[in-house]
Amino acid sequence: MYEGPIQDLIDELSRLPGIGPKSAQRLAFHLVKAPPEEAKRLAEAILAAKERISFCVECGNVAEGERCRICRDPGRDPTVLCVVEEPKDAATIEKAGVIKGRYHVLGGAISPLDGIGPEDLRVQELLERVERDHVAEVIIATNPNLEGNATAMYVAGLLKPLGVRVTRLASGLPVGGDLEYADEVTLSQALEGRREM
């Protein structure tokens, strides 16, 4: 335990996801020892992101303004939706350039152990979008792990009565893994081999 500002900084840092008390301490001392400009740049970047970045009202991805770049692009097919857990997953797939349609970010996966139920995800928004935009196909690209599969199954169960084609990215992705670690070739193969749910 330290006193004053350094402890405040450690406390704030340790509230971030994936940062334990030890890492928080290391980061705090790194920042304090670094030149003042470095700390200032970081603080400004955080504030700027907080002020300028919001979440797209359509897809839930990060956006500058009300709608994200992809939802604003008239060249993107609005009748094909790719459903992902987090914005970072949309970014991974987008980098591979395999989706001609748009995305829908759920904001996580169902996980009772983490207290996350279907009502905590942007599922209702997905159903509304599918009806409003006459979506023809929903490609579910949740992570290929237990929670991602359960989420895919849950979402597919709600979508199928609407008469929309529902597919799941093929395995071949690292099983039990994270979309984040898949490369472009793997992702385009997974899309080619997507299967009906």
Binding site: P112, A150, M153
Partner: protein, 362 residues
């Protein structure tokens, strides 16, 4: 396969023990209780399991007064030589190197060094709760097919998820998302059921044969899964829907491999349960010997077999018959408190006293 040499540093009461040129066949480890003979077997088990078969905490493994314990050893087999080095800190995770590269996944070592350990705790596999027999079956899976370990952990996780959902649900009817967890439980549960069935089948015949050789009558080893029949996944879903009301009332999962058992029945003038500790102990050792034989069939060579104090619970006749059954099983380490308990014929004898090992014989 066999351990060629092993070195212990600050491991329990062994300050420094180094054994070289360990032979194939029976290796006898003799010493009074508390002198460190079981510890020697435990250390050899570490080379394959990267864990103790006796305890899940590391603190008692480090010699009093030391901060870290080390076990190193080299195993030779059909895949060549394998060097395993294990660092056991008093607190924190065990770290290991395989051929001088850090080990990231325990199964990578299990694939190279196959170990079967039987000790006095195994009596509870025969006489204890079904959970202990399920743990035995899962250990058999990890030993036979190390790469399938994920099947066990995936099922454990889906079960925890589904139980939490049932436990926290306060509303009426079925909690939202239940069908998704039913489907996951059914698919992962079916995979684990098939794997346990395969493991049980692989070891049952030899366990029964070894038991009959020692006891003179039959042992039946039969896997009793929570869900049976084909197609297995559909049967799972059917059973789940049948038990839906019960599950909602009791707020826990009532169908699945976490309710399996391994039935062990003695057949002597009809079926009966175990009549004595000695008889149950023979069954416990024979289950492990059955596993050792299954491993040999799977990988083409016998595993390193470690039997901690197998003779003391037996009468002289059974003792002799068990000892006879231990030859031609590759390298078998057997510990005993008293030299008199052991039938003759071991090529190597290691006498352990106060954490020091002296070699006798060949």
């Amino acid at each position: 396969m066999r351990v060629d040499w092993v070195e212990l540093r600050d491991f329990r009461n062994h300050r420094h023990t180094e054994l070289t040129d360990l032979p194939e066949g029976l290796v006898l480890v003799v010493g009074a209780n508390g002198e460190g003979k079981t510890t020697l077997l435990e250390a050899i088990a570490f080379l394959g399991l990267l864990a103790s078969p006796r305890t899940s905490v590391t603190e008692p493994l480090v010699r009093r007064g030391a901060q870290d314990a080390y076990v190193r050893g080299e195993v030779r087999g059909v895949q060549g030589r394998t060097l395993v080095e294990v660092h056991i800190p008093m607190r924190g995770a065990v770290r290991a190197q395989l051929d001088r590269s850090p080990v990231r996944r325990r199964r990578d070592v299990r694939r190279r060094v196959r170990v079967v350990f039987a000790g006095p705790d195994d009596l509870s596999v025969v006489l204890g709760e079904p959970a202990i027999r399920r743990a035995f079956l899962d250990e058999a899976i990890r030993t036979l097919w190390p790469l399938k370990e994920g099947v066990i952990t995936a099922y454990e996780r889906v079960l925890r998820q589904r139980n939490r959902l049932l436990k926290e649900w306060e509303g009426r009817g079925t909690p939202p998302g239940m069908e998704a967890w039913d489907a996951e439980l059914a698919s992962r549960g079916a995979t684990l059921t098939r794997l346990r069935a395969a493991a049980a089948e692989a070891l049952a015949a030899e366990a029964a044969r070894a038991f009959a050789q020692v006891a003179g009558y039959a042992l039946e080893v039969r896997y009793a899964p929570s869900v049976e029949g084909e197609p297995l996944e559909e049967r799972f879903l059917l059973r789940l829907s049948e038990r839906r009301e019960d599950e909602l009332a009791r707020r826990t999962t009532l169908v699945g491999p976490h309710r399996d058992d391994l039935r062990l029945v003695v057949r002597e003038f009809g079926a009966r349960s175990f009549a004595s500790h000695g008889e149950a102990w023979v069954a416990a050792v024979c289950l492990r010997l059955g596993l050792a034989t299954a491993v040999e069939a799977e990988v083409g060579e016998a595993p390193i077999t470690l039997l901690d104090d197998p003779f003391s619970a037996l009468d002289p006749t059974r003792r002799r018959r068990l000892a006879e059954g231990l030859s031609r099983r590759g390298q078998v380490f057997v510990s005993a408190a008293d030299r008199e308990l052991v039938p003759d014929g071991a090529p190597a004898v290691l006498a352990v006293r106060a954490g020091e090992v002296r070699r006798e014989g060949a």
